[in-house]
Amino acid sequence: MSQAANNQILTTDGIPLKVSLKKAERKNKIRAFTLVLPLLLFILITFVFPIFNMLARSVDDKQINTVFPKTFEIYKKWDQSDLPSEEMYATLFNEVITADGRQIGKASTRMNYSKSGWKSLIKKSKRQFKKIKEGPYKEKMIAIDKRWANIEYWKALGQMVDPYTMGYYLNAVDLTYDSNKKIIQQPEKRRIYNSTWWLTFEVSVLVTLFCLILGYPISYLLATLPLKFSNLLMICVLLPFWTSLLVRTVSWIVILMQKGIFNSILVWAGIIADENRMQLIYNKTGTLIAMTQILLPFMVLPLYSVMKTISPTYMRAALNLGAQPMHAFYKIYMPQTIPGISAGGLLVFVLAIGYFITPELVGGSEGLLIGHFIAYHLKTTLNWGLCSALGAILLAVMLVLYWAYNKIVGIENIKLG
């Protein structure tokens, strides 16, 4: 190593040390990044992008705009006070006639979301339209179906003129647009989501609470017992963690059903009569019991790892200073376990709120959580916009909770096993 006149330290090849170090640093950075890159790209492409794509879908209204571009162009000029002009009827007529069958099917499904009846109207009209060779279209269309003269149908189109819509989000919280594009409540019989959101929230809170009530004492026991006993008992916590979710759900069905083990024991013990066995499954009770057992390890593991670090000397000191054991526990021990309580609580809550399998299998019709409706719209009704909007709201709730989790414990401190 040589020293230059201006006091700069140089490496053997004459480059200033600082520059050389910086270069090495950059090379290391690139090397580290190259290692991470394959997985990062993989997750971005196969996971993050699809999720964002879904979020985009929840506000997307482009499809119908590609089917009826000209009609919507004219629609924007319509004053909505009286039936539209002959020009609009003619344009719509042409666009229905020329559109591809599948596209018009999709579009009419979308129209049906804003006013039911549109789908059947379009379907019926498309068949009849072939007979119409020339104008005036307005009268001939009304002759085919009187609904063409109903201004409400035309007004309902107004929601779709923009390529983006908030309609699905409104639907996801039991709101909708009326024909004048004002936000109103859904009709009574179609209000299902708010109650489902509340039920999901309620079940998650209760499960979290039960997990805390059951998990706190055993975490304490595990943290204070000598290692050889606690290792053995730890298996009782870890085995359910490793056992298939479906296996545990099946066992709860076996235990809780009307002719199941739990009821049979009660009958055998004479606590209840054979004819009034309790209905413990296919309702909310079943969901709560099964989910509590399934999620309990996620409460115990964070609690345990926090309690393990609490020195027993504090409690001893408190007792030594004359505190009652309960008082000492409440004042000294419990505050130190708050990080564990919040970590475990958040983890359980977050997992519970997105649960699908267990509520679906043991919840019956009254225990359906929001996951059910996401699946239902994905696979059965094919209302993918609403499906995405429900998913997006759920995702937003999760992200807020995880942000809180990150603030409290740090996301990289998640421990497994």
């Binding site: 950075k29 580290a32 991470v36 993050v48 057992q293 997105g354 399998i357 497994l416």
Partner: protein, 296 residues
């Protein structure tokens, strides 16, 4: 934890009450898993203990449902029940998907963990958050998102699609476990290896890999069990004949409830006990390895 001699009677009662309560909670955790094992040997097609079973009469127990699970349908003496080899098909599919996804997840995850553990990794927090996200997002949302995306590329109903989706779900576990093993990894070892003339690749396989192997294997096991136990994504992305074990159990619970489910459940419990034991042993080995390092 023996009680000190000066405890009062009240405290004693409280302590034993506490132990009793803990016992109940442990029972609540573990009993549902073991209760299905004897039931799977039931002779009758019920989901409960028959009086004969409780009297431990040998005729009340049989391997009948296990035979059905294996696809052996010839039964001479008893009423015939619907018999398919769907369970075996499911097992094969589960292993194909699980093992491929595990291989991909472990390779990608280990590499990423190595990169993330380097001291000069840029945007570490952000990248970690992205990599862990598949574990955080509820499965139902993941399934919906991937379904829309795959629909565009015709990947719905293909093995490739399922394997890729399960790989994404499994990688966070590999990243977390391997990163955890790498904390406290002595970087001087790689420097020593480099100064002795080994190239990067050789250093990795001869020095780094043996030390982080326990973490890699536990990560792989986590990834495997994630894929093996996963049903939501399979339900939405899989075609009708892409049956996996959890999917067949799902169908079994919803439609044709039969004790064969309990047989499969028993097998899965056995599998989970094996995996848990392996992971525990690996964890201890890893701790021991690191313990030795600290003593030096």
């Amino acid at each position: 934890m023996a009680l000190p001699t000066y405890t009062t009677t009240g405290q004693r009662i409280g302590y034993y009450g506490f132990l009793f309560y803990c016992g109940l909670v442990f029972f609540f955790l573990i009993a549902p898993i073991f209760i299905i094992i004897p039931l799977s040997f039931n002779q009758s097609p019920f989901f409960g203990f028959t009086p004969e079973m409780l009297r431990l009469e040998p005729e009340a127990f049989s391997l009948r449902w296990y035979r059905q699970m294996l696809g052996i349908c010839r039964e001479d003496d008893i009423i015939t029940t619907v018999c398919t080899n769907k369970w075996m098909l499911g097992t094969v599919n589960s292993f194909i998907i699980g093992l491929s996804a595990t291989f991909l997840a472990t390779t990608l995850g280990t590499m990423a963990a190595l990169g993330l553990s380097r001291p000069n990794m840029p945007f570490k927090g952000l990248i970690m958050a992205v990599l862990i996200s598949p574990m955080i997002v509820p499965l139902i949302i993941t399934a919906a998102g991937i379904f829309f995306f795959y629909a565009k590329f015709g990947l719905v109903g293909t093995y490739t699609g399922l394997i890729l989706a399960h790989t994404a779900l499994g990688t966070p576990f590999v990243v977390i476990t391997v990163t955890a093993t790498l904390t406290g990894f002595d970087t001087n070892l790689t420097r020593a290896s480099a100064s002795l003339g080994a190239n990067q690749l050789k250093t990795f396989f001869k020095v780094i890999m043996p030390l982080i192997l326990p973490g890699v294997i536990s990560g792989a096991l986590f990834a495997f069990i994630t894929s093996f136990d996963e049903v939501v994504v399979v339900l939405f992305l899989g075609s009708v004949d892409q049956i996996t074990i959890p999917r067949q159990m799902w169908a079994g619970i919803r439609q044709e409830i039969s004790p064969v489910i309990l047989c499969m459940a028993t097998c899965l419990v056995a599998l989970s006990i094996t995996l848990l034991t392996t992971v525990e042993l690996l964890r201890r080995r890893s701790e021991r390895l690191r313990g030795i390092k600290l003593r030096n």
